[in-house]
């Protein structure tokens, strides 16, 4: 009964049990290009190479490239080569660029015939980083932002790299955010957050203060905490000893 139930609801089974997941995977293999028959000279050269850089070849996944190699047309011949290489801890798992006959032989010897892929010189050294960081030649964009329309309730204006200047009123429910200073030539009824990237020297200036919230570098005061005698005044707000101060200007 139970198995029947499971069958009736295969989708649920898959989502709940998840016996496996399928993911794409890229990895690097070492391609060994054979240029001749696998004779004694070949194995001697191979041993010399391994002796020079033992760690490099240790347990390395290896693909045999047969583009320039004749022979290896039988599974036995191929199997002998693979056994010899595996005995040297070279983990051969596939061949590439073989003839049809060689591919067939490789399959018989338990190798995977590979197609595609690109050879790349195995170079442990990374290209120098400085190359990527060549300075851009074009002139930098202005870091400050100028808004000449009223800033409406629900709008957020963000000057992420400098000062924000608003010519016009900022409504309650609107937000001004700047990494630098904020200037409002009009009534500020919304929120203003200056120095949001942690600049303690940022300031907020406005022609008429009626803000919901003022903040500099994360230190804030809400409208309840704003001094009553500063309301509707031309003021600036700044940080002094980690206290948000508001004073009249002009």
């Amino acid at each position: 009964m139970q198995s029947q139930q499971v069958q009736q609801n295969p989708a649920k089974r898959v989502t709940t049990l998840k016996p496996f997941e399928i993911r794409g995977r890229f990895f690097t293999a070492v391609a060994v290009h054979l240029t001749g028959p696998a004779d004694a000279a070949f194995y001697q050269a191979l041993d010399t190479q391994i002796g020079q850089t033992p760690q490099f070849f240790d347990s390395a996944p290896i693909v045999l490239d047969l583009q320039n190699a004749a022979g290896f047309g039988s599974s036995e011949e191929m199997g002998l080569l693979v056994a010899q290489m595996r005995s040297r801890n070279l983990l051969v798992f596939g061949i590439q660029h073989g003839t049809d006959q060689q591919m067939q032989a490789a399959r018989g010897a338990g190798l995977i015939p590979m197609s595609g892929g690109k050879d790349k010189p195995l170079d442990r050294q990374r290209p120098p980083r400085a190359q990527a960081e060549t300075p851009a030649q074009k002139a930098p964009e202005p870091a400050s932002r100028l808004i000449t329309e009223p800033v409406r309730s629900g709008q957020t204006i963000f000057a992420d790299r400098g000062d924000l200047v608003v010519v016009g009123p900022v409504s309650s429910g609107a937000e001004l955010i700047a990494s630098g200073n904020i200037h409002v030539y009009g009534t500020l009824r919304g929120r203003a957050m200056a120095g949001v990237n942690g600049d303690h020297n940022a300031r907020i200036f406005c022609h008429s203060l009626d803000a919901e919230l003022l903040a500099i570098a994360g230190l804030y005061r809400t409208s309840d905490d704003l001094p009553a005698d500063m309301r509707k005044k031309n003021v600036q707000a700044y940080l002094q000893d980690d206290v948000l101060r508001i004073e009249a200007i002009g």
């Binding site: 329309e149 009223p150 800033v151 409406r152 629900g154 009123p169 409504s171 309650s172 609107a174 009534t187």
Partner: protein, 272 residues
């Protein structure tokens, strides 16, 4: 060149539908071919205020979905022959509106009418968005109280960013007018309501008119007659004048409190 005017507010119950009915009737009474569309899908009201609810056969949604021709859905007003009403569906919801469908209907209406007045639903979601999206001008209906003013402010922000004209990105903007409704001089003077000056200071758009709180508005709605047709009522007169200003006429904004003469001059300065 026909004009699409959206009547919007954000907040509900401020008098959008009453104003849409009054403004469209006012435009039609001056001889302009006018059509008023109800965008409040699912809460069909405009047809009742226009007094044509018994004549609704096909609606806006039927036209958008291709079930009826525009001509079949349009209801010609029996009192003003230049006025037509495009009612909406009471059984569907705002999801039945599509941008392409609305554009197609408006394009077709533009060929026949001088003014197309879109009565927006409350809120800022799909219905309200599509009502304002293709507009050339906007009438923002606001009551003199803080929540209505804030919602109108939000809507003004959307008019400047989420509309066809704003999205063209060539710096052009919808012309927005403020219509202050349900205004009571006495309560405003005593500080119970916001003053006209305060509202204008926050919204910073030209004032189209001040509609006094009036019993006649409710009465006119109940009998299905746009209040603008009642030329004896103060509200009716105020709408008539607002329509004149919408057409570019210079009409002084009247307020019945004599001692605030200084304010009149300020208001005139803003509308000019």
């Amino acid at each position: 060149m026909s004009k699409v005017i959206v009547v919007t507010s954000g907040k509900g119950g401020v008098g959008k539908t009453t104003s849409a009915a009054a403004v469209s009737a006012g435009l039609a009474m001056r001889g302009h071919k006018t059509c008023v569309i109800d965008f409040d899908v699912g809460l069909r009201n405009l047809d009742m205020i226009m007094g044509c609810e018994r004549r609704v056969v096909f609606d806006f949604i039927n036209v958008i979905q291709g079930d009826a021709k525009l001509k079949q859905a349009l209801i010609k007003d029996k009192r003003i022959d230049t006025l037509s009403v495009l009612p909406t569906s009471q059984t569907r919801d705002k999801d039945a509106l599509t941008k392409e469908g609305v554009k197609q209907v408006l394009d077709e209406l533009r060929e026949e009418f001088d003014y197309i007045v879109c009565d927006s639903p409350a809120g800022i979601e799909r219905g309200a968005h599509l009502a304002m999206y293709f507009a050339d001008e906007a009438i923002v209906v606001t009551n003199p109280e803080v929540s209505s003013v804030r919602d109108s402010d939000r809507v003004l922000g959307l008019l400047n960013s989420k509309t066809h004209i704003a999205e063209r990105g060539d710096g052009s903007a919808i012309r927005a007018h403020l219509l202050l409704t349900r205004f009571d001089n006495r309560r405003s003077a005593s500080g119970e309501m916001m003053s006209v000056e305060d509202v204008l200071d926050i919204l910073a758009i030209p004032l189209l008119g001040i509609i006094p709180e009036s019993q006649t508005v409710l009465k006119a709605s109940n009998v299905g007659m746009p209040v603008v047709m009642d030329d004896k009522s103060a509200a009716g007169k105020a709408y008539t004048e607002a329509v004149g200003r919408l057409l570019g006429e210079q009409i002084e904004i009247r307020m019945d409190v004599g001692e605030r003469r200084g304010l009149w001059q300020r208001l005139m300065g803003r509308t000019a």
